[in-house]
């Protein structure tokens, strides 16, 4: 049996992890709503950001930059087949210019050793561009394909990226420095600084996203594309561009999650996949469309996981992932239809 303090510790653990799953769930919902892509490689972005953050020692250039530049080159070649004139210029700027600029900045900043927050920013800057580059390479050419085809492509991208992750980061895991060593005591609750950081960052990201969708034109374009792709195109929204923006946001959110989780647990090159999948469980509870439901479900997943780990640690993953099945079932029962697929 467990006592109150264990119970509280488990819940607190679950909420902190759940907050990170919630961020990922938001990224997944966003990408799915705008592009109909189930963005499995979100997990790789998480682990790459975590490993990049943990690997910053003030001397070496983050190895992930080679990957960012390489993917940029591939994306350029993939897009250069069709683009001409001004479009080609923009493509070159975004796929070649941007990663090169990031590399230059990072190489200049790393030796300055500006501290932990700067390191977090560096890691995010290095890794976030991977998502839009992936979109250009893998998903934009399939924009008109079915959700199922996009999903298979997404699984393919996950496989390729996780192999590249092993190449870049090696098989060893790493753990990053905590953002703060402070501990907050509130009666029986003992809140470590990192937990506060995670919760604050999650909240800030959510408010930021809300403001983006509510107050900016780009946000409105994303919402319009999500609601009705063809309709959005008819009123002059470049849905391709909206897809790119969605992947940018997802990349940023996932990279932030990676940096946040780095001090909490040891991350390996392929560890993000399971973390991302837990974000999925939550995103699916929200039917891949509802942000608040997804965020709440993510917290629930975190708590379920933390109790499962305590009661039956070996079967933790089995319990969490088998947990998705009743959710899927409930989802599909609410949408009973004999509609033809495809």
């Amino acid at each position: 049996m467990m006592d109150t303090s264990t119970l509280l510790a488990l819940v607190q653990d679950g909420v902190v992890n759940g907050a990170i799953y919630a961020l990922l769930a938001l990224a997944l919902v966003l990408v799915f709503a705008v592009t109909r892509t189930i963005f499995i490689p979100v997990g790789e972005i998480v682990s790459f950001a975590a490993l990049t953050y943990a690997g910053l020692d003030g001397k070496t250039t983050p190895p992930v930059l080679a990957l960012t530049m390489g993917l940029g080159l591939v994306a350029f070649l993939r897009g250069a087949v069709k683009a001409r004139g001004r479009a080609l210029m923009i493509l070159a700027l975004e796929t070649l210019g941007l990663p090169a600029t990031v590399t230059a900045i990072v190489m200049a900043v790393v030796p300055m050793q500006l501290g932990i927050v700067a390191n977090a920013a560096i890691a995010i800057l290095c890794v976030a561009p991977l998502a839009p580059l992936l979109y250009r390479i893998a998903f934009a050419p399939l924009a008109e394909a079915s959700v199922l085809v996009l999903l298979i492509a997404s699984v393919g991208a996950h496989l390729a990226l996780s192999g590249l992750g092993l190449l870049v980061f090696g098989p060893e895991g790493a753990r990053g420095d905590a953002f703060s060593d402070a501990v907050l005591e509130m009666g029986p609750i003992i809140l470590p600084g990192q937990a506060i950081w995670v919760l604050a960052a999650t909240l800030a990201t959510m408010i930021g996203l809300w403001a983006f969708f509510r107050f900016t034109l780009a946000g409105a374009a994303l919402r319009a594309t999500a609601i009705n792709r063809r309709g959005a195109r008819l009123v002059g929204i470049a849905t391709d561009q909206a897809g790119l923006h969605a992947f940018w946001l997802a990349g940023l959110i996932a990279a932030v999650s990676g940096v946040l989780i780095a001090p909490l647990t040891t991350i390996y090159y392929d560890g993000g996949f399971l973390i991302g999948l837990k974000g999925f469980v939550a995103a699916i509870v929200g039917g891949l469309v509802s942000y608040p439901l997804a965020a709440l479900a993510a917290i629930a997943v975190g708590i379920l996981e933390s109790f499962a780990a305590f009661q039956a640690s070996a079967f933790k993953e089995v319990i969490v992932f088998a947990g998705i099945i009743p959710v899927l079932l409930w989802r599909s029962l609410r949408h009973v239809s004999v509609e033809d697929e495809e």
Binding site: A153, A160, G163, F315, F321, V338
Partner: protein, 584 residues
């Protein structure tokens, strides 16, 4: 392929491994290819034919492998007893998985299989009885009459024969009553339901069949490797099997073998060469496979087989057998179908407000009304596709309110659709044969064992008769995609007739037909009426419906505004106002 071809393939599988000078390494690659191809064959049925995607095939393979491993090591049973155990275990697990997962549609199902795959993997890696991460070793090899098949060439023979057997049973299954039902899941599900195909059963069949093939492959794998551990049964392996099907061409049986050959050979070459390029300890092949999957979907979504093979001629079916026994038509003049105060709302929109009418056997009733009057919704209410919010549907005096389309079909209703719904991967006559689904009885097992031939012959004879009646006998072996839109509607009528109905619901059958074709259709409908069929006809072509119908029901804004003989309805002021917007 003819039986002789299959025999030749089997002979090849027996003899080829013993070819003098053949390096044993090649034989072991062939074993890998064979086992993979069996799993990919299951995916052809599941993904290519039935349109469901599974990432869990490697985990299902693990069920078969662990089942036989536990029985032959812990309990010392013969590996041959492990075979039925492996097949049963994968069947039972697939049934359980399917029962909770198969209601999911499209991408939810695919995600569900990812969840299953991850769960099963961690289960294998954590259960004591399965040896946790170390797995189970010391599994005995297969043996025949005391001869232990330790030589890899002997194993290759068993695997080769297993592959030929798997492809043969798959071919048999696809070419059967249930094969047509599974094909209909892709793009023709609503139509299949309207002739009584239980879609859930068809989905389950495809899922369980693919799982049993995976379990069979697992049994072969366990006794070939003589050891099992969780690694080959994880998600990455599951993705690789799907890659094989996609690369080869998921809709084609030879595509499974082609995909398996390519992926295994490329994998092998990569494992040889990549360490020299990128250093040891790096899974660079996963990068190549991941990229290959993405590029395949972008460049050749139908896979390589359709690009390599010349377009195969559609199969010609022999139609000389006696047709199915005729269904009994209820007495002329009896009440066939009754709508009683039917109402259907979609949110705030009332599509059908209040619909009542009676259709008699041997009567042709026209249902007309301006666009948006609620005719198609009425059709869906009467055929069980949509359920009414209020009111009743009676069929021959029996209350059928709330029945599924399948139950409606069972009670003698058949219908066509405003937007023709033919199964693209079937020929015209096969689409019509789908209509006989409820009149056949052969089970999937009978199909696999080829015990359904007599029934199939009668089904195709029946389909040919109905096509002939509808004037499309010449197009029997054409692909459904080749037809003009008007012809597709006529094929739908033939499919409906093949179900042997007593009530026929036709949704704008004359749209898109030329003058002569319309006349032929009118003649057919008159003949059916004379035979006692009750026909409800929704039609916009006034000349056509006025000349044919015994009575008309006119709808506007979801309610009946007039009912009666055509010549009376034509003069009804309410009807004139509805159509012409009021004559000032």
């Amino acid at each position: 392929m003819k039986p002789l071809h299959w025999l030749a393939l089997a002979a090849l599988a027996v003899l080829l491994p013993w070819l003098p000078g053949l390096p044993l390494f090649w034989v072991s690659l062939a074993c890998q290819i064979g086992i993979s191809a069996i799993i990919a064959t299951g995916l052809v049925v599941l993904t290519g034919v039935a349109g469901m995607t599974s990432f869990a095939q490697a985990s299902l393979m693990g069920i078969g492998a662990y089942a036989t491993a536990v029985l032959s090591t812990n309990y010392g049973l013969s590996p041959w007893l492990g075979l039925p155990a492996a097949l049963m275990a994968s069947l039972v697990v697939a049934l359980a998985m399917g029962a909770v997962t198969l209601r999911l549609s499209g991408h939810y199902l695919a995600l569900g299989t990812i969840a299953w795959s991850v769960s099963l993997y961690y289960l294998y890696a954590n259960l004591d009885i399965l040896g946790r991460n170390d797995g189970i070793s010391g599994i005995p090899p297969l043996s025949i009459a005391g001869w232990r098949l330790i030589d890899i060439r002997a194993s290759a023979v068993v695997i080769g024969l297993g592959l030929v057997g798997a492809m043969l049973t798959t071919r048999h299954l696809l070419d059967s009553r249930w094969g047509r039902a599974m094909r209909a899941l892709r793009g023709g599900a609503v139509a299949a339901a309207s002739v009584g195909v239980e879609l859930g059963q068809a989905r389950m069949l495809a899922f369980v069949y693919a799982a049993v093939l995976a379990g069979f492959a697992g049994w072969l794998f366990a006794h070939l490797q003589r050891a099992v551990n969780p690694t080959p049964f994880g998600l990455v392996a599951g993705i690789q099997y799907l890659l094989m099907a996609v690369v080869g061409g998921a809709a084609h049986l030879p595509g499974a073998l082609l995909g398996a050959i390519l992926v295994v050979l490329v994998n092998n070459a990569l494992q040889d060469w990549l360490p020299h390029l990128v250093g040891p300890g790096v899974n660079a092949e996963t990068v190549v496979f991941g990229l290959a999957l993405v590029l395949m979907l972008q460049a050749a979504p139908t896979g390589l087989w359709p690009l390599l093979a010349r377009k195969s001629k559609p199969r010609h079916h022999d139609v000389t057998a006696a047709a199915l026994p005729r269904t009994l038509m209820p007495a002329q003049g009896g009440v066939a179908l009754q709508a009683i105060n039917l109402q259907r709302r979609f949110g705030g929109l009332v599509a059908v407000a209040d619909l009542s009418f009676t259709l008699y056997q041997g009567e042709l009733l026209g249902l007309i009304g301006p666009n948006g009057a609620g005719k198609s919704t009425s059709f869906n209410l009467l055929s069980g596709v949509t359920q009414p919010n209020h009111g009743r549907v009676e069929l021959g005096g029996r209350d059928m309110t709330g029945s599924s389309p399948q139950d409606m079909a069972r009670c003698g209703i058949a219908r066509s659709f405003q937007h023709a719904k033919l199964v693209q991967s079937l020929t015209v006559i096969e689409n019509v044969a789908l209509g006989t689904h409820l009149r056949g009885a052969a089970s999937p097992v009978a199909a696999v064992l080829r015990r359904d031939r007599a029934e199939e012959a009668r089904i195709f004879a029946e389909a040919a008769i109905q096509l002939e009646r509808c004037g499309l006998a010449d197009l029997a072996d054409a692909s459904a995609t080749e037809l003009a839109l008007g012809q597709q509607r006529i094929v739908e009528i033939a499919r409906a007739l093949a179900a042997g109905p007593s009530v026929l619901l036709l949704d704008e059958p004359a749209a898109g037909l030329r003058h002569a074709e319309k006349q032929a259709l009118a003649a057919l409908l008159r003949q059916l009426r004379a035979e006692g069929m009750a026909i409800l006809l929704v039609e916009h072509d006034m000349e056509f419906v006025m000349s044919l119908a015994d009575r008309l029901v006119v709808m506007d804004f979801g309610t009946v505004i007039a009912e009666g003989r055509p010549q009376d309805v034509r003069r009804n002021p309410a009807v004139i106002e509805a159509y012409l917007g009021g004559v000032a």
